[in-house]
Symmetry: none
Subunit: 247 residues, 2 copies
Amino acid sequence: MSGPSPQPPAIVLVRPQLGENIGKAARAMLNFGLVDMRLVAPRDGWPNPDAGPAASGADVVLANARVFDTVQEAIADCHYVYATTVRKRGLTKPVVMPEMAAGEMRARPERSALLFGPERSGLETDDVALAQAILTVPVNPDFGSLNLAQAVILAAYEWSKQAGQPEMVIDNYEGPASQASIDGLVGQVDDALEAAGYYHVPARVASSKRTLRNLLTRPGWSEKEVRTLRGIVHALVEGRRGVRPRG
Amino acid sequence: MSGPSPQPPAIVLVRPQLGENIGKAARAMLNFGLVDMRLVAPRDGWPNPDAGPAASGADVVLANARVFDTVQEAIADCHYVYATTVRKRGLTKPVVMPEMAAGEMRARPERSALLFGPERSGLETDDVALAQAILTVPVNPDFGSLNLAQAVILAAYEWSKQAGQPEMVIDNYEGPASQASIDGLVGQVDDALEAAGYYHVPARVASSKRTLRNLLTRPGWSEKEVRTLRGIVHALVEGRRGVRPRG
């Protein structure tokens, strides 16, 4: 049961009411790579014809969902269980947010489970008592109206997020241009501004030139982008000649 | 426009199709304390009788939603704009994940906006070109099927989660210019390029204009810097007249 890398958590829907919500939960799971769905005593039986359309293609999750009579049976192979709830319980248990729960689950080699209660009422206190910890999403205290699929997606998202993707990349970006290319662009604009009489206040020439360089350096344009900009400046400057009256 | 604490981002739904999804997005927003909803050309008009029931009590968000004809108008007062998309674009832009976007928005005193595209098709490339950055949720590459409300809730959740964290500062930076100011600069350069005959290959006009906008949007220049650049462009353009031979 244990291994070198963390196992994705099981998502356990306890007494879910609507097939549509089971389908939406499946979709939310698969969006973030979770596939182990377990259903405890679904109200309308299983399979449920309303689940498939709501899953929007996450059929593999529904096809492999397992059905259990009790929560205990559903989590028998799980080593750490979180009960998701927004309401306070009379139980003394750790209460963790999704990010921390995801970190804990990733730190363990054994399988974990997340329990989600019925749509209308949420988990009963007896269900919560089966869990080692409570998972709570920090919603707006004046409007705590998370539906089942939303609660599932936030937990699944946090699990997935910690897989190590970078938080930022630049799409289609070949890296910043060389200093020589930036110098070329700055020089081109500078020459054109000289010719246009832009630097007409002698006391401000140095600071104007510094500002110009800074404005054109900070963006970090690529070589290709610098070439495009040089073309644009060329067009603006050549435009002068283009509109010059003949004769 | 600026103040000591970050302003919650505007959630901009661009050409949303179903009232039900607008309602669900409102619910997702209010769950994490966001209330500034903006609708650009909703397909079925506004108000929409299907929105209220789907909002599950988040009526205050719908009641205060504002409607605009264009994305530009909707984000005119926003200083930093993220376009949410899962598809690759031909644009060179930073691509950030929700956590980083939330951190960036919290680091700025000015209002930010998050653009969400129509349910079926997502944002068009011209919409994306209006943004300084792309916000992408790192979904399962084999099943990237986030619906509108799910995308909204993940962004809103990350924003809310970072409440109370210490703010970053950016040295000597007064913050990015408003979208309206960037529009002014882009329009000025565009007009000058038209006059200079830069757009002489009809098949490339649209992509050239998009590239121009992207090049001038991405740097995140301040209001003062945009004014300086407008002066520079003005000098280049007026220069034509200055060097025109007399007589």
